[in-house]
Amino acid sequence: MTAARAVRATALATLAAILAVAGSGCGGGDDELTIYSGRIQGLIAPAIKLYEKDSGEAVKVRYGDSPSLAATLVEEGKNSRADLFYAQDAGSLDAIEKAGNLEPLPQDVLNLVPARFRSRDGRWVGVTGRSRIIAYGEKVGRDELPDSPLELAEAKWRGRVGWAPTNASLQGYVTALRLVQGEDVARRWLTGMVANKTQVFDGNVPIRDAIARGEIDLGLMNHYYVAEAVAKDPDYPVMVHFPTKDLGSLVNVAGVGVLASSSRKREAIEFVRTMLKRPAQQYFANSSKEYPLVAGIESAKELTPLEEIPSPKIDLASLGDLKGTLELMRETGAL
């Protein structure tokens, strides 16, 4: 076969395959509940099964990272095919709520979750919570541990701490710091952290692993990163410390909202309800070691109970307003 004929044959075969796949995809239409999920498949699929079992309906899920999916929903506007958005962080939910993409949730659904873990406007609810902790390695003694993350800017910890400034969780933390303790405290802390040669990482897992390898001693991250590693390997050499002063161990949420453009709002709200029932809440507590947010459901044994975690009472929705935080982080050289 000559090159030209080989190419032509391949092209025809490919075209035929595309038409076949496109044809089979058409009849589907909008008859299934569709979720855009910023949470990973491995974690969320079993929870979705709970809804499918309850309702007898199949669910379609588009996976991605939360900020990308939030931006996609804003671009799609009223032509979106999504019925629900399940986000990894309050910031992404807040962004599409502000863009007018979310439908108000019924009060009885909202009431299942404490007010500080849901939208002030009632358009999304938190499903599970995570706490911002200090992870530490074997070289650090318990009595040395700082009472406040603000102490990490002190000379004692020079070059020994890792953080991930591009990570939404850290940015949310800085936003909270600005809100609770003011712009000056936040600026001083950021400047101090940069001057203190705090090591920059791309995400939380690399920080945790660098602590395990002894490259650094401390890191700021969410509690479940350590819990996951310890669940896999009980001897994993990284421990969790819940600081008590200043912002303490700030709690943030992963949550869900119903799209205003959805044609299946009733089912979508039913899905939200399922996520807040005991089986789903218990599932998250066991598997991802996150905190269940609905009253009366216990978190994993090894965790400090949610009520005992020192966390300031702030409006999580305001964490979605990142602009000032990014400016401050750039100004201080943290970004």
Binding site: A6, K60, Y63, S68, A71, T72, N79, T166, A168, L326
Partner: protein
Amino acid sequence: MVVVAAESATAAEAVLTSRSLGLVLRSAGLAAAVTAGAIALAVPLAWLTVRSDLPGRRTWATLATLPLVMPSYIVAYVFVTVLRPRGLLAEALAPFGVQELPPIYGFLGAWLVLTLCTYPLVLIPLRAALRRLDPALEEAARVMGRKPLEVFRTVVLPQLAPAIGGGGVLVALYVLSDFGAVAILRFDSFTREIYIAFQSAQRTEAAALGMVLVVVMLALFALYARVRGARALHRSSPGSQRPAAPARLGGWRWPALGFCSGVVAITLVLPIAVLVYWASKDVASGLDAAAIAANAGNSLLAAAAAAGAAAAAAVVVAVLAVRFPGYATRAIERVGYAGYALPGIVVALALVFFGTRVALPLYQTLAMLVFALTIHYLPLAVGPVGTALLQVPPRLEEAARGLGRSPLQVFRTITRPLVTSGVLAGAALVFLHALKELPATLLLAPIGFETLATDIFRQTTTGFFEAGAIPALILLLIAAPPLYLLNEKSVSAP
């Protein structure tokens, strides 16, 4: 994209800070260094695998182009694992008293990894161009008494400049729009600014920052057009072209083999070894062979369709740009490059915008995904097709027209056979990129259309890059045979 950016007059100030200017310079410096490194690797590899009697040169060519199929963040993570202060290399050297290596992070690491990821972008078009060179020119120069190295410098190299320049532009654009690798290697780049703006839901600012990349891209392209535009590369005298006889390496064969195996060892064997090591931990827990096969099939389908569509579109664009040079055709060619200069997520969101407003019935179908991949990677095919066209004497086409053939007949019987090598090289480049594409696939593919790239994303998204090893290995495995074919055909075709 342009629509979104146009809304953003206020975001202009975000772009014009001295900080982002500094980052543009940093990114430009990295792009320049990587481009130089990639060319330095690709030129000897191309010559050895096309014009010498190196043993197994076809296999070397395929092995040397294969690294392009791996997502750059996976390669970056592999190298960090090996070279970080207490990584695998430090462990291996521990018996010799080495406790810690100097940090790989920053400019040097980013340069190393991106050079190793991108040199095939120069190698593939360069091989196609080398094969089309008319040996008569070199022989004439030899007869006139020039030494071999001098001939290479004064006769061969100038003829290869368009291919090298075209590939170099692609390398620079790749570096400018890459985010994953620079993030893992902790190099502050301009793309990181776009990513941060985007992550905090400031899409107008992200779009405005993206426009800076487009401006840089246009400047680069003007430079490239100057390299390409000033030359006539076809033979001017009558007579027909024949393939060059391979140069005898003689005693140089061993250093040449050493060079090729060195490159392949670092860019392919090392990453594969690390991936296999990671995968071996996962295999114990069982493999879902059916799912992997389905994902591989989907990857191949989308990538092959995009490669075919992009190659066909590239012929149209290149014919217009080369044979009918003018403002309009030049503009078409340059605008096409914007699709490649922008980070994938920006292109994907622009297509979400387009899909939900203009092509709603097609939105999130396979056709839409193929369209997106074609738009995104079209410039990869335009370059090699354009250089191939430059080597076709217009006189041949004119003669055929004079003998009464219609323009379409001329294209079919004269032009097309002569540019086949360029078209196949372009198709190979698009194919390798489309196989690993992620952001557009996540947002625009039909729900449930999983590819190997989305599988890698699914496995690695929590930061466990090791878990992406199996789909990454499969990606290499399925890319190799079609790549071998395309490489072969693009060199054996005129």
